[in-house]
Structures are given as structure tokens and as C-alpha cells.
Symmetry: C2
DNA sequence: TTGACATATGTCTATATGAGTATACGATTC
DNA sequence: GAATCGTATACTCATATAGACATATGTCAA
């Protein structure tokens, strides 16, 4: 089997840095394709293709206005990523240091109790 | 150009659901490969290959003990993902509703002031 | 209606993938 | 040292990609 399609889910869609850039620009508000082309310095067909992927996973929505297509962000599909990754925050954040210390203490105490019962 | 290698960064490495599963198991503590094979129900060579990718982006580390290799989690490389995605949290979280309301109010007031100066 | 503009799609190429299967390799045990 | 265990690697396959380029489609203006 090959790698999962980029359109499988937000995880795959967002693995491509250019697509993250597009979302970052759209976070400031609705934009026509050519604005994105200009801001990102990418070829227009490439931007259109990235937008297609983002559309397919629901990360952007389009609105037609004259000959322009206005794209806007929809962050909802990013929630699963956030939900998953936030469980690992303790790996780097000092915010959890105190909690970790408490847990270690509890564990130690528990083991002491166990050995008392042997 | 082809899609960026899975070993390019955590974004790409973690786009594969099996690799996320592996990390989820390792979050509970150090594990030998065969434990992962059993818990995930995957073929052993497949697990080894996924572990290799995770190693290359620094998400896991290995320790040899006899004929076993004990893998453990290192969440640090996930921080960029968390940092990026958390900026989009307002897209789905109600926690930001109040803030958004305040911002909208400010904006309205600002526009009122502007029109007074015309 | 002709042309310019905004965007999407098709084709091509190089490349890498996940999974399956077989096998290699080092450590241990007999 | 032979057999076994735990793990990694090699090879194969089908498939999808990002990007470059050319072109199609639709909309507006002169």
C-alpha cells in the first residue's frame, strides 16, 4: 500500500508546509486565489491544487464572486490534531513539572505501602 | 517533486495513524518491539519500519537490553505541531467566544469613531 | 465578439511510500 | 555450536505525490 492520500484527513493535508502557509494567510481573513499566489510566491496552478486538497478535507471553503473565488478558513478539522498532540504537551512544557513531581511522590508512597503488606 | 519524506519532520511522521498509535502506547512507558507488535496487531517488520521513521525524527529513542530493544517516547519534536495548531483553536473552541465578542465590540466602536471624524 | 483576466484541470516526471514476504543478524539458551 | 528468540533489513509491488508546464473554463470589459 502506498502512503495515505493527502486528502485522507487533516493530519495528512497539513503535513505539507505550503498548505499550512495557505491556512496561515487565510487565518487573517477571506482571500482570492491570486492574493495567495502573490503572498506565497508560488505558481498559480500549484496554489489551486493545494486549495483543492484543503477543500477536500474541509479546511477551507469557497465563495464565488465574479471571476474570483474567495477562500476562507475553517479550522474545525484541525481539532483532532490538537486533541491528539495536547496529550504530549508534558513532554516539553515545564507547566507539568509540578504535577509530575506529585505523581512520582504518590507512586513512591504506593510502593512503600505494598512492601509493607508483604 | 514527490511528497516530502515521512522523515522530514514530525508533521510528516505523525500523519501515519499507525505511528501515532505507537506513540500512544509508548506514552505509558518504555516498551520492547514485540510488545508493540502484540498491542497493535501489526506485522513485526512493519512496526520496526515505523519505529525507524519515528527514530529519525527524534520522536522515540532506543535502549538495548539483551536481545530486546526498548523504545521510549520523546515528545519534544511534537511541540511545533502543538504550537502551530493551537493558533487555530478559536475555530472550534467556545473558550474564545467571549474574547471574540469583545474584539467585535472594539472593532465596532473603532468604526464609529472613524465615521465621527469624517 | 474579441480579448483580457481569474482560476481550475490535465499531463508528465521523479520520487517515496506502506505493506507483504523472506531473510539477515546479534544475543541467549541448550 | 546449534537452535531459538528479538529485531532489523532487503526486495517487491501498487500507488500517490509536488511541481512544471500547457491548456481549458468561466467571467467581465471594450
Amino acid at each position: 500500500m502506498a502512503r495515505a492520500a493527502t486528502t485522507t484527513d487533516a493530519f495528512n493535508a497539513v503535513a505539507e508546509p505550503r498548505r499550512r502557509q495557505i491556512l496561515d494567510v487565510l487565518a487573517a481573513g477571506e482571500r482570492p486565489v491570486n492574493d495567495l499566489v502573490a503572498q506565497l510566491g508560488l505558481a498559480q496552478p500549484l496554489v489551486s491544487k493545494h486549495l483543492r486538497v484543503l477543500r477536500q478535507v474541509g479546511l477551507v471553503e469557497v465563495r464565488e464572486e465574479g471571476r474570483q473565488r474567495l477562500y476562507r478558513l475553517n479550522g474545525h478539522p484541525l481539532k483532532p490534531i490538537h486533541d491528539w498532540v495536547k496529550n504530549y504537551e508534558r513532554s516539553w512544557s515545564q507547566r507539568f513539572d509540578r504535577l509530575d513531581a506529585v505523581l512520582a511522590e504518590l507512586k513512591e508512597k504506593e510502593q512503600a505501602d505494598e512492601s509493607r503488606n508483604e
